[in-house]
């Protein structure tokens, strides 16, 4: 009798201990699997982290996504010699004026032209020669002469471009134009890849980090929103603050990542098409929150070049888009509707 009782008691104790151990390691056997893979594309590091029920499926979706990104790079890159845009820029320099272009290239150029108009020229996709001249981030980065900048500005201006959308035709009226889609191509890629992922499995959630352009897919597995940090422009290994979002993107443009210094002056990579110099309108960074990554990407660059007052007017006039502006003097401003994303300073 006693043996039976004690055996039963011991068994209960053992079950209790095993359960406790099981609970502790339970996090790793969560119903939702996570797969996170990084690759280098578009001259930056990209990371795709997806959550779903099947690791193999998630891995396959991410592999397909990177293959698609590779295809997009072969359309939009101004540096890749095998890209569609590279070939067009070469042909423009030879004096050709009319080009039949792919649907994707037409969409992105069209978007660039639309935002150029909406931002009064602050975003300009024809600054390729200025970018080459400054060479910021390359081994020939330098402070150009004012003559060289004036020369590069001759071929800068979206009025040189026109699109015939019915015939996928791009017309370029100056051979001095060089198109660069660096300010919006990653944004287009994030929108495209999000659609691709959801077409393969609409239940998948996750985060796309394309060189610091963040796109969230759905919300977190526990139903809460993602917390997306905004880099501190004065110490870019730290977070300045954060917003809570689901199914939205957060894109930041700042003066702190790609730059060089000469005689104590910082020359960063966001060039102002009106002056030919790095944009200097009192802002250290601009973060845009919205549903379309190409829109956020385009607006972050445009707003940085516009300066705070015009940027706030622009963003407050667009539905579904909000911004956080950090000034060079450390002040911060935000658009009228930022409250819905619980913007808070980091502790």
């Amino acid at each position: 009798m006693f043996k039976k009782k004690s055996c039963l008691f011991l068994s209960i104790c053992l079950i209790l201990v095993v359960n406790l151990v099981g609970c502790s390691s339970g996090n790793s056997s969560h119903a939702n699997e996570k797969v996170s893979l990084s690759e280098l594309h578009f001259d930056t590091i990209m990371n795709i982290s997806l959550y779903g029920d099947n690791k193999e499926e998630l891995t396959g979706i991410i592999r397909d996504s990177y293959a698609r990104i590779d295809d997009l790079e072969k359309i939009f890159s101004a540096q890749l010699e095998s890209s569609e845009l590279y070939a067009i820029n070469q042909a423009i320099a030879r004096g050709e004026e009319s080009f039949t272009i792919s649907d994707e290239l037409e969409k992105v150029i069209k978007y660039g032209l639309d935002v150029n108009e909406a931002s009064n020229g602050a975003l300009d996709i024809t600054i390729g020669n200025l970018i080459d001249l400054w060479g910021i981030g390359t081994d020939h980065e330098n402070l150009p002469t004012s003559e060289a900048i004036s020369e590069a500005l001759v071929g800068t201006g979206c009025s040189y471009l026109s699109l015939d959308e019915d015939n996928n035709e791009l017309r370029v009226s100056s051979r001095k134009v060089k198109i660069d889609l660096g300010a919006i191509a990653k944004g287009y890629a994030a929108d495209d890849i999000k659609s691709l992922i959801l077409s393969k499995n609409p239940k998948v959630t996750g985060i796309l980090d394309f060189g610091g352009n963040i796109m969230t897919i759905g919300g977190k597995t526990d139903g809460s929103k993602w917390k997306v940090g905004i880099t501190d422009p004065f110490d870019n290994s730290n977070v300045y603050g954060g917003v809570s979002v689901s199914d939205l993107c957060v894109v930041t443009s700042g003066n702190y990542e790609r730059y060089f210094e000469k005689d104590g002056v910082r020359y960063h990579h966001i060039l102002d098409a009106k002056t030919g110099f790095p944009a200097k309108k009192g802002l250290a960074s601009v973060s845009i929150i919205g549903s379309s990554s190409i829109q956020c990407d385009a607006l972050s660059t445009a707003c940085f070049c516009l300066g705070a007052d015009d940027a706030l007017s622009l963003i407050n006039g667009i539905d579904g888009v909000e911004c956080v502006l950090i000034y060079e003097n450390g002040d911060v401003a935000a658009s009228d509707g930022i409250g819905q994303y619980d913007f808070v300073r980091a502790e």
């Binding site: 610091g212 870019n236 957060v250």
Partner: protein, 132 residues
């Protein structure tokens, strides 16, 4: 020994085993939380893992790849950064020192990525991602 005494001894033994198991789980978890490692990748392959816990003195080491280099410093406060590099853009140096998984250091020309992994990054971090 009476049946009652034997039962009491068994209960005590079971309780001790239970407490020991729970304590060991707690200690293991605490130890993992303190762990912080920097993974250095070249071409997406891990080439070096650096323990960032209990660093007694700042030290430096050089990663040499494909004719280029990155001089890396590890500090007493458990952070890691690039202090010199052969790349033209110096984005890796401009990133500064990192001590958590939110901001990897990237050197595209040398195809080097430095990522810090701690158990704090597995769900307990204040941020899921960072826009930059």
């Amino acid at each position: 020994m009476s049946i009652k005494k034997k039962a009491i001894i068994l209960i005590v033994v079971a309780v001790v085993i239970g407490i020991a198991a729970v304590s060991s789980i707690f200690i293991m978890n605490t130890k993992t939380k303190k762990g912080s490692y920097a993974y250095i990748y070249h071409n997406n392959e891990v080439i070096k893992v650096v323990d960032l816990t209990n660093v007694k003195e700042d030290y430096e080491f050089k990663i040499e790849v494909d004719g280029g280099y990155n001089l890396i410093r590890v500090t007493k406060d458990g952070s890691i950064g690039v202090v010199d590099a052969s790349c033209p853009d110096h984005i890796c140096m401009n990133t500064g020192f990192i001590k958590n998984g939110l901001m990897p250091i990237t050197c595209l020309p040398n195809k080097i990525v430095i990522e810090v992994k701690t158990s704090l990054d597995d769900g307990n971090s204040a941020y899921d991602s960072v826009a930059k």
